[in-house]
């Protein structure tokens, strides 16, 4: 891989703050920063709510050497707002082919995290990202699937039956805290 001058992190979580997607992405940015790489962090949903959000997004994407997309698994795929951003980027690059063809090689990688212990449940979402990369003119640098949810409990550390027991217990505790007594197992 050629030397990447600027890395852009796109956070695809609908949550505005404290999401696992952001934590994972910013951890990676910190490591790259230490290597002298300039980094930028964009929260997709927040940016697209702004008046010039689309333009800002496209400028940031067109000026990066490495694009990192970090998002949570939503119904076997990406959250709708993240798909929307990818549609905007791909459409722009299809219309402005000079951006794609004249630009230096740009790389893309994706991080998908889910609440399920099996990381492979994110494979389809990452395949969608790979397909986007090809269509939008990025060189696909790979995808990372993380299972275990917010706590990022590693599968190897927690057998399936404990995950089931603990997961169900945590849901019940949260519901009780909110007074949602009608939640049944």
């Amino acid at each position: 891989m050629s030397v990447v001058k600027k890395t852009l992190l796109l956070v695809g979580s609908p949550k505005y703050a404290g999401s696992s997607s952001e934590s994972l992405g910013t951890y990676l940015l910190e490591q790259l920063s230490e290597k002298g790489i300039v980094t930028e962090n964009i929260h997709i949903n927040q940016l697209l709510k702004k008046t010039n959000g689309e333009e800002e997004l496209l400028n940031a994407v067109n000026n990066c050497g490495l694009l990192i997309l970090s998002f949570p698994l939503y119904v076997d795929s990406l959250p709708s707002g993240t798909i929307k951003a990818l549609e905007i980027i791909a459409q722009d690059r299809a219309q402005n082919r000079n951006v794609k063809e004249n630009s230096k090689q740009q790389f893309m990688l994706a991080i998908c995290q889910s609440g399920f212990p099996e990381a492979h449940q994110s494979n389809i979402a990452l395949a969608i990202c790979r397909c986007f990369a090809g269509e939008a003119g990025f060189t696909w640098a790979g995808g990372l699937a993380l299972g275990g949810g917010g706590a990022l409990i590693r599968k190897s550390l927690m057998p399936g039956w404990i995950y089931l027991f603990m997961g169900n217990l945590v849901w019940r505790m949260q519901a009780r805290k909110n007074g949602a007594s009608s939640v049944k197992k």
Binding site: P14, S80, E87, P117, I128, A175, A180
Partner: protein, 191 residues
């Protein structure tokens, strides 16, 4: 049979229009009652990822907009049809926005399905499920992703039956009508 059709295509998609028309006719021939919703005409907010529909107001999204009505209609229908252009192998953001808002119909609790962890069902009965993907022309990469995606979607919910089909801009009207008829028969059965 009450059918809910969610069309996630853009307004200027002649192939999706043809498919909707063909689907309406195939349903009518079976005496099914179809309710077609063009999603670009309905404004809803995207899912917030707050889990409020699981731990605060179980079964009901905390966002009070048409997303709630569609989730209710989804559960009250005997068959639900999703129509979407295939975007990067998946659904359009428009269709996905509605799909994400259906999370309240599931329970947060976990169970094992085929050795994997999935969510438990909140209700005893779920509709039949038909997914139609639209592509301008054949594209093996996108089709493979789409087929795997719909199969995984079908693992999440105890649908009474399900099927998916992919249509190209190169298909003739007759091919579309015949394939739609087969899909409706496969999911809905004959009567």
């Amino acid at each position: 049979m009450k059918i809910l059709i969610l069309n996630g295509s853009t307004k200027d998609d002649p192939l999706a229009e043809k498919i909707c028309k063909s689907l309406s006719e195939a349903l009518k021939a079976q005496n099914y009652e179809g309710n077609l919703l063009n999603l670009t005409d309905i404004e809803i907010a995207p899912c917030l990822g707050c889990f409020g529909c699981w731990v605060k107001t179980p079964g009901l999204c905390v966002i009070d907009d048409a997303g709630r009505d569609i989730a209710r209609s989804y559960m009250q229908s005997e068959m639900v049809v999703f129509i979407s252009p295939i975007i990067f192998g998946g659904y359009s953001s428009e269709l996905k926005k509605f799909f994400d808002r259906l999370i309240p119909v599931l329970s947060p609790f976990f169970k094992k399905v085929g050795g994997e962890i999935h969510h438990k069902m909140r209700y005893k009965r779920y509709p039949r499920f038909l997914v139609i993907g639209v592509l301008p022309e054949p594209n093996p990469e996108k089709e493979e992703i789409f087929n795997k995606l719909t199969a995984r979607n079908a693992l999440n919910v105890e649908y009474q039956s399900w099927a998916s089909g992919i249509f190209y801009g190169t298909h003739s009207d007759n091919e579309i009508n015949e394939e739609i008829r087969k899909l409706v028969m496969k999911v809905g059965g004959s009567r």
